[in-house]
């Protein structure tokens, strides 16, 4: 009996191995999301609320009418657009420059990637100084540097003015993440078999045509991955902005606003509703992506 069981691939052994993790995920990811969802439908709008009851979607309706929330949301969307486009372009440029192999590649690659290893609370100090808004004679940081190279007209308020704040805030974000995008694209480029290019080259295709018709089409899975990674990081952005501008109004995004609502105002219902909004914005992109990944893996089995 025993011997027989061992010979068949015992189907439940693996299950019991991962059961503790399954329980942990069920409770601390899905259960707690459910708890937050419930909190967002209740009336615990300060720490003294005693008669806790369901109030439906009132908290969400109120969020929509809260100018600070809509401001944070529009900031987040602006940031996401600039950050994603900036990272994609700079990551792609870096990977194209390195793709064919060049002396010193390892050195360049490591410098482009090191920002990922440092906390943004630490890097925020440098960036806050670089993006100091003082101009002309008082200028420090980038404004000072711009004057020195004769581009004084380009001096900026950086993250302190309403108009450009989210553009300025995406600079450090792009600085931090483009090395990651570069690494993903490099891996993508180098996963394309060399004979594919050689064949095209023998047929007399130009380097540009090879990129356009062979390399880029092969890169679309990488491209999708990069979009998902950048998108979800952007939606959650917190310490990067907190490290530079703390709770400043002009750079407020949803995660910062949620933190403020919970800690400064103890408005748990509202904080929970903001958290659920962030979650939903991520889920609409990530769930289809995970299903797609799942399907392609099943197909490759």
């Amino acid at each position: 009996m025993k011997v027989k069981k061992n010979r068949v691939h015992s189907p439940w052994g693996g299950f019991f191995f991962v059961l503790p993790s399954i329980i942990a995920m069920a409770v601390f990811v899905y259960g707690m999301i459910g708890f937050t969802l419930r909190e967002s439908l209740q009336n615990r709008t300060n720490s003294y609320t005693e008669d806790v009851k369901y109030v439906g979607f009132i908290n969400y309706v109120e969020l929509w009418q809260d100018p600070e929330f809509t401001h944070a949301l529009s900031n987040l969307l602006k940031f996401t657009a600039v950050f994603m486009i900036g990272c994609l372009l700079s990551g792609l440029i870096m990977s194209l420059l390195l793709e064919k192999g060049i002396k010193g590649e390892g050195f360049f690659r490591s410098t482009y990637l090191y920002p990922m290893a440092i906390s943004f609370i630490a890097m925020g100090t440098s960036w806050r100084w670089l993006m100091d808004s003082a101009r002309d004679a008082d200028a420090t940081g980038l404004n000072y540097l711009l004057q020195k190279v004769g581009l004084g007209a380009l001096q900026s308020d950086w993250y302190t003015s309403e108009a450009g704040s989210m553009f300025a805030m995406s600079l450090p974000a792009i600085w931090q993440m483009s090395g990651y995008v570069m690494a993903l694209f490099l891996a993508g480029f180098r996963g394309i078999p060399d004979d594919l290019r050689e064949a095209a080259r023998v047929d007399g295709a130009s380097e540009f045509k090879i990129s356009r018709h062979i390399l880029f089409p092969q890169l679309s899975p990488t491209f999708l991955t990069v979009l998902i990674i950048l998108g979800h990081i952007s939606m959650k952005v917190f310490d990067l902005i907190f490290g530079i501008a703390t709770k400043s109004y002009v750079t407020k995004v949803l995660a910062i606003y949620m933190w403020q609502v919970i800690f400064d105002f103890q408005n748990y219902a509202k904080g929970a509703a903001i958290a659920i909004v962030i979650l939903l914005m991520i889920a609409v992109a990530v769930i289809p992506y995970l299903i797609y990944v799942n399907k392609t893996e099943e197909a490759n089995k």
């Binding site: 052994g13 942990a24 000072y144 993508g188």
Partner: protein, 297 residues
């Protein structure tokens, strides 16, 4: 599979670049180095600023000289800053080491099952794990705080061990799953014929092959827990006796003290040193973690 991806990225100069370059080829090579150097300067600027200004003393950072290295080294900002940061840094080290080791063990077990010992529905379960990697932690923070109070760890550093272990499960599982997927099934088949069961196969065949996987996961968890600010500020509630590297640093550099740049840059550098050292010496494993933590390369 993941190590394949990493080795692809790490691939050295290939043959194509070694042939003799014509005029246009040489122009492009010069252009590439020029562009790479500009990008290098941009990438290095923030850390350069931090390093040179940390050795100018507490008040020695003047606006016009801030981009220029000091003529003499003045470490006077280091002593007092280290005094403030020492305790939080050791506390961080204490919890980060624990959470990384536990995470790696859990990741290895899960990764083995999802790669080599699948059960009915395991792909679905794995996908539900992966979703946990993408969630905004804001969405679990309120109940998690309550849970910690209820479990009696609310006012201890173990809240952070717990949080990083639990929410590290998806990424550690993914990295190990990708790592084990590259190990040939024939090894298992052979061991099976000899009558070995799952636990023995894992222990005697997979674990000994796992050292690079463990290094990747340990570095990943170490770096992300060391640099984490969100869990730290939510779960320790800014309590000074639970302050960790990032929250202590934020306390130093926070809005009231922004004028003391010499001090702030020094503090930021001190807090970054552990992760920078890890990156410097084990950067290739860091890259592997990044790539195999990204689902598809």
């Amino acid at each position: 599979m993941s190590s394949d991806i990493a080795s692809r990225v790490e691939r050295k100069l290939d043959i194509r670049t070694k042939k003799k370059l014509d005029g246009a080829g040489q122009f492009w090579l010069v252009f590439r180095y020029f562009a790479l150097t500009i990008l290098f300067v941009i990438a290095a600027l923030p850390i350069y600023i931090m390093v040179i200004n940390s050795v100018k003393g507490i008040t020695g950072v003047t606006q016009s000289a801030a981009f220029i290295p000091p003529t003499s080294l003045d470490f006077s900002a280091w002593g007092p800053t280290w005094e403030i940061l020492r305790e939080p840094m050791f506390r961080t080290l204490f919890f980060v080491v624990q959470s990384s080791i536990i995470s790696a063990i859990i990741g290895a077990i899960n990764g083995f099952v999802f790669a080599k010992w699948r059960f009915r529905g395991s792909t679905f379960v794995f996908t539900t794990f992966l979703f946990g990697m993408f969630i905004p932690y804001q969405a679990i923070m309120i109940p998690l705080t309550k849970f910690n109070q209820w479990a009696g760890i609310g006012n201890t550093i173990y809240v952070l061990v717990f949080a990083h272990v639990i929410y590290g499960i998806p990424i550690c599982t993914l990295i190990f799953r990708n790592y084990y997927a590259a190990i040939p099934n024939e090894l298992i088949e052979a061991a099976r014929v000899d009558g070995a069961g799952m636990v023995r196969i894992f222990r005697t065949i997979f674990l000994p092959l796992s050292i690079p996987g463990f290094v990747v996961v340990l570095i990943w968890q170490f770096t992300s827990a060391w640099n984490d600010f969100l869990f730290a500020i939510f779960l320790t509630g800014g309590s000074p006796k639970l302050s960790v590297a990032t929250t202590a640093l934020n306390f130093i550099t926070g809005s009231g003290n922004q004028v003391y740049y010499g001090n702030n840059m020094t503090a930021s550098l001190i807090v970054s040193i552990p992760t920078l050292l890890v990156y410097l010496f084990l950067g290739r494993y860091f890259l592997r973690g990044l790539l195999s933590g990204s689902l598809k390369g």
